[in-house]
């Protein structure tokens, strides 16, 4: 059949698209299948855009550090499109002694991992970001962190990969992977079937039921996140922000709008009608959180709110792994809400797994077989 390629990627999120791009660069023929009408319609377009090392699980840190050193700084140039990457640092803010205690612990952990993070005073925080309220007593500061535009980065990889000959098909709902001669090879959708020498499963939470057709289960849950967006404001600051109390997180985008995420505490109970849906109480709650730190934004208008699903793994780090009992299959899912910042690194590593049979960074912490019962 004419539907056979080197690699079939299931999922056109930033992981799938980045992998498609790096594979195309190596000369592979690649097909990307996407269930949605639109490219990158899951978590890749629904996240805070953080390109952070601080606050990250130490298993993920080498991936984050590699990307920030080697890939993010030149990504816009490489993809011929501005992905709005800013490396202006990450401030995590505290207003009480208890907050400072939390931040100090995070800082000690991060420093032990070799990361350049330090505690600064409220005064120093206001020198970095003059719009902060005087109530901020201190902050943790990681100068090499930053953020990028997740929607543009996802589409930039898609656009470039498409130009390089990668085929993307949207509206193709994958229902099953089938083995041929003991090797995963066939990808069955509701209407068609495709074949690839290698199959990469990068479909977020939806990966779970697809992997199940190969007898593989990844313990992950779907968790909701909610974000609000303001009208464009004059350029104010480009740090990534968070707080010790997790009142909110976010940044100002290049366009001028602020993008702030947060929670009401009731996320686990939101209505699930098949699409991620915002609740009526969360945006108000996030606004109160923001105004406690940035009174100056009280008059900024909220123009929209949105929600997204995270594929949260049992141990909060992704599965990026060959599958021993299913040759030909590679898993890349369960990114747990922090996949965006490491996506370029992961895409590159996945392309190496296909072309060289092994990634150039150690991925053993992300093996699918790591989940064991407690007794």
């Amino acid at each position: 059949m004419g539907n056979s390629v080197d690699v079939v990627i299931i999922g056109s999120g930033i992981i799938g698209n980045a992998t498609a791009y790096y594979l195309a660069k190596k000369g592979c023929s690649v097909l990307v299948l996407e269930k949605s009408h639109s490219i990158g319609d899951g978590g890749s377009s629904r996240n805070g855009g953080g390109v952070r090392q601080s606050g990250r699980d130490k298993r993920e840190l080498p991936l984050a550090m590699y990307g920030i050193k080697n890939l993010w700084p030149t990504l816009s140039e490489e993809l011929d499109m501005d992905v709005e990457y800013y490396q202006e640092g990450n401030l995590r803010l505290g207003k009480t002694d208890a907050h400072l205690k939390v931040l100090e612990n995070l800082t000690i952990n991060a420093t032990q991992c070799g990361l350049d993070v330090k505690m600064i005073t409220g005064e120093e925080a206001r020198q970095i970001c003059p719009y902060l309220t005087d109530e901020v007593m201190g902050a943790s500061w990681c100068p090499t962190d930053g953020h990028a535009n997740p929607m543009l980065a996802t589409l930039a990889y898609y656009r470039k990969a498409r130009q390089m000959g990668v085929t993307f098909i949207t509206g193709e709902d994958v229902v099953e992977i089938k083995k041929i001669k003991g090797k995963a090879r066939q990808v069955i959708t509701t209407n068609n079937s495709y074949e690839g020498e290698t199959i990469i499963l990068a479909a977020g939470y939806e990966s779970r039921k697809i992997a199940a057709t190969m007898g593989i289960d990844i313990p992950m849950n779907k968790a909701l996140l909610e974000v609000l967006v303001t009208e464009a404001q004059p350029p104010m600051f480009y740090q990534m922000l968070g707080t010790a109390a997790a009142d909110f997180y976010g940044h100002q985008s290049k366009h001028g709008s602020f993008v702030f995420g947060g929670s009401s505490g009731y996320e686990a109970f939101n209505k699930d009608d098949g699409t991620p849906t915002t609740s009526s109480i969360t945006a108000s709650c996030i606004c109160r959180g923001i105004m406690k730190y940035f009174p100056i934004l009280a008059d900024a208008k909220i123009v929209r709110t949105w929600a997204g699903w995270m594929d949260v793994c049992a141990d909060q780090v992704p599965v990026i792994s060959f599958v021993e009992e299913v040759p030909g299959l590679i898993l890349a899912c369960a990114f747990s809400g922090h996949g965006f910042g490491i996506a370029p690194t992961v895409g590159k590593l996945l392309s190496e797994m296909v072309s060289d049979g092994r990634p150039s960074l150690d991925l053993s912490a992300f093996h699918y077989g790591r989940f064991k019962a407690k007794i």
Partner: protein, 109 residues
Amino acid sequence: MSKINNRSKNIGEFIPQSDDDLIICRCEEISKGEIRRAVHEGMFTMTEMRRYLRTGMGLCQGQTCGKLVKNIIAREQGISPLELEAAGSRAPMRPIEMKILGNEKRIGE
């Protein structure tokens, strides 16, 4: 409505038109030519266009230009606008100041 959409389908070359400078999305100041060109760069849906160019992402949230953008995207691909899904509508209905949105009260509070 055919759902399956191969992004490598041939939609021909981008051909400049005399009214490409026409502003379609007033809030974000995006022209007809920019939208048409983005279709050739692979942005085939309302949602993708919104994320790529910011059409309909400004103060009116696409209530003014949504239909125009949809028609341009459809025509450029040689399909009917009926084949394109509308972009999602997001709360709030109108822009609201943070201090007001953050000050909601239930009856009796």
